[in-house]
Amino acid sequence: MGDDNLGLLRGTLDLLILKALATGEKHGYAVSEWIEAATDGSLLVEEGTLYPALHRLARKRLIGATWGVSENNRRAKYYTLTAAGQKQLEEETTTWRRYSDAVEKALAEGGAG
């Protein structure tokens, strides 16, 4: 991971967390790894913001949290997507797509001109 990593746009972290959890129950560390892997390491997740975000989503009941035992037998906090979280993920995905399409279109226009 070098300095050419992109910072996260505001609000996209929540979306990525929800997406990460949509693929299955994970603890915080696994979430950060999943994001890194899924974006081929081009997105840098600041861990200092990841955990507060996880807790915030948990308070909004978009994800659930339980203590469990990790693969190497350590106590870890696992997060899962709730039904409300699933719905939120779908909505935000649509919004994001429309948003990025629009920006993309605008930029393409500018490039051609």
């Binding site: 200092g48 507060p52 870890a76």
Partner: protein
Amino acid sequence: MTRRPFPSGDEDPRTRRAFRMPPEARGLEDEVDEELRFHLARKAERLMREGMSEQEARAEALRRFGDVDLVKERMTREGAMEMKRLAWWDRLRQDVRYALRQMVRNPGFTVVTVLTVALGIGATTSIFSVVDGILFRPLPFPNPGQLTVVWADMTRRGGPVDEWTNFADYYDLKERAHSFQAMGAWGGDPLTLTGHGDPQDITVGLVTRGTLSDVLRVTPSLGRGFSAEEDVPGAPGVVLLTDGFWRRALGGDPSVVGESLTLNDAPYTIIGVLPADFDPPFMTNADVWSPMRVSAADNFCGRGNACLHVIARLSDGVTLDAARVEATDIARQLEREHPQANANVGFTLRSFRDDMVADARTALLVLLGAVVFVLLIACVNVANLLLARASSRGTELGVRAALGAGRRRLTGQLLTESALLALVGGGLGMALARIGTAFLVRIAPAGTPRIEGVHVDGRVLGFAIGIIAVSGLLFGLGPSLRSARRDLTSALREGGRGSAGGVRGMRARNVLVSGQVALAMVLLVGSGLLVRSFQNLRARDLGFQPGGVVTLQLGMPQSRYPDANTRRAFLHDVEARLGAIPGVDAVGGTSWLPLTGFGSDATFNIQGRPLPPPGQNHAVWFRRVTPGYRAAMGIRLQAGRWLTVGDDETAPPVVVINEGMARRYFPDESPLGKRINLGGPDRPTWREIVGVVAEARYFGVRGDSRDALYLPYDQAPSPTVFLVLRSTRDPAALAGEIRGTVAEIDPSMAVAEIRSMESIVADALGPDRFVTLLIGLFAAVALALAVVGLYGVVSYGVGQRLSEMGVRMALGAEGADIRRLVLRQSSTLVLFGLALGVAGATAVTRMMKNLLFGVNATDPWTFGVVALLLAVVALVASAVPALRASRVDPIRVLRTE
């Protein structure tokens, strides 16, 4: 035992859930710590796998994470806040659920409390909304405080203080006074509109120039206002339409401005439309407005007449009192200048608002008083109910305190219960207020000023809810907390009896119940007095027989009925044809109908007697009538004869006078054969008095009798006439035949206001009926609430003393003894309340004197009946719990001890 929740510390989460405890905040910090530590460890492992040494990996993991402590602190803080919020919600949910359970468990208490709150809020809010809308709501005009009504003050002539004035006096005052920036006059006429479908009567408000634009300051929303040239005699007719009439009759078409309307066969050009929110406080039923087109020089309604309403706008900075001084001065000048007509005539100036509600004021203020009383009773009842409940819950609250509930927790619990009761009661009350206000507006007597704009007042509603809630809290919450604070042992020792609050609570409740009985007594006495005076009014001899009489109004337009001959001919024809309708027993015509409050008056002198000195003229009301009128209206003949068909324009002038006039002017002799002259003494027309009739009430049922006389219509025909038919048939069925018959003679003649005389009588009694009904409703509510209060307290007292009763019975007391014991206690309360009520009612009913008729404000009969009624009802209310007490099974009671 300490007051610490006993399941504390590191319980199993299930214990926490069972006891509804929030997770400990200390645990939260540990959890965050553990979660982050796990992350850092995994990160370090990965870095080691990538080739770092353990030490390097740990350092790198920490570096990449950022400020671990800051993140940790932030997460802990946010988590704790959330937890607090959750706990709060949890507690609220729990409190609400608990309160609901309490409400369901005590359905009697709940229903009574909720109904009390709802009745109190609903009744008081609707009444207050009506009173506020009529009395206190600002008038819909700029600077309404400057609007002043000017009347002729006839008190020094033995007449009313607010008589109509005339054009001569109006113009003089307008010209000479400097206190007013504008002055105008208004009157009204029903005119017949033709050319728009069937001929129809529309009401035309007639105003002098400036009445609308300068006094009321209204600008037409379409077109223009009246100009000076349009308000002179002979000017072509113009009209301003009201928004309602414009939409109703002309479809709201803006292009009608400039077009013409035909009223009484004369053309009127439409010059504009008034704004929709123009809500004139006089002539509220006017369809169109038109200039009066009268000048000071006109003889029509000249000096000495009463025909004109005057309204003025005070100049800026001029007070009503200053204007009065000036008007009085001008009235004195006029007295000197016109000793005949103006002697002893003054001006009465009133603020517009006072003038409008003058008659209704006392009634409305009495109603307002009743509102306060009912609100007080409702408050007392709620307080009483909560107080009784608080006492009986001493044990429960004590136990809860013992189990660790803190004071704030208990307060919150009790507050939730009160709030729920207030919420349900308040919601129901709001609905009641809406229904009640709509009901009152509907049953309000016709002509109640400004009634259309009345609506539920949000502030009042809030106030009523607030005051009931506060009184509930004050009386309900305080004692509850006191009893919960008391030391636990005594609360538990008293066990099932739970008489926490003890003697003090009981005394407070007793005082409240007595006060309630007293308040109810005052309202019931007020209501009783009104009912009695209403009975007196209804039973009053009106001087005529309204049963079976139908009336209608005919207006003969000047254009087609220009002189006496045409009018006489038309009226004779109409009378003859209407009399031929089957079932019609008698037909007569008159210039004025009884009880409508209108009339004409004149001065007169008696032949052979000296002229009265200036200012002490003999004044008398007069009506032009046809021979059939007496039989049709059912007026009793006392002496001499009534008018006959022979008393026509060719016969010697005659007159029939009423009893009052006969008594005043001919106290020691027969008036028959005496001759009087109406009008000026210069060219007298002497009329012989041929008969004396009973006094018919023309000016309200409760009005004093007034001197009046009857002239033969044929000797003095008027253009407007009321016809009176006595028949055995239904007035509604008759209306169609009447219209048809009139149309046979003159198809474009408009027949107005076909009404039964009985409905005119009912209208005249309308305001009295309204007030009587309202106060009666209030009194009924007060009685119901007082009974509920008494029942509650007595049955509660019995419940508290069940074991004592049990012991007494075990020791040989009979059921009757127990019943006596209970009843004795409640009768003490009631008697005390009644005594208080008599004193209160004596003080308060004096205010109602204006509303009463034929009954004294301290009528002993009413006081007695009300006291008896209250006593009986109270006895019944306490007999139920007394009976229960006497059926106590001593064995069972003693066993539970």
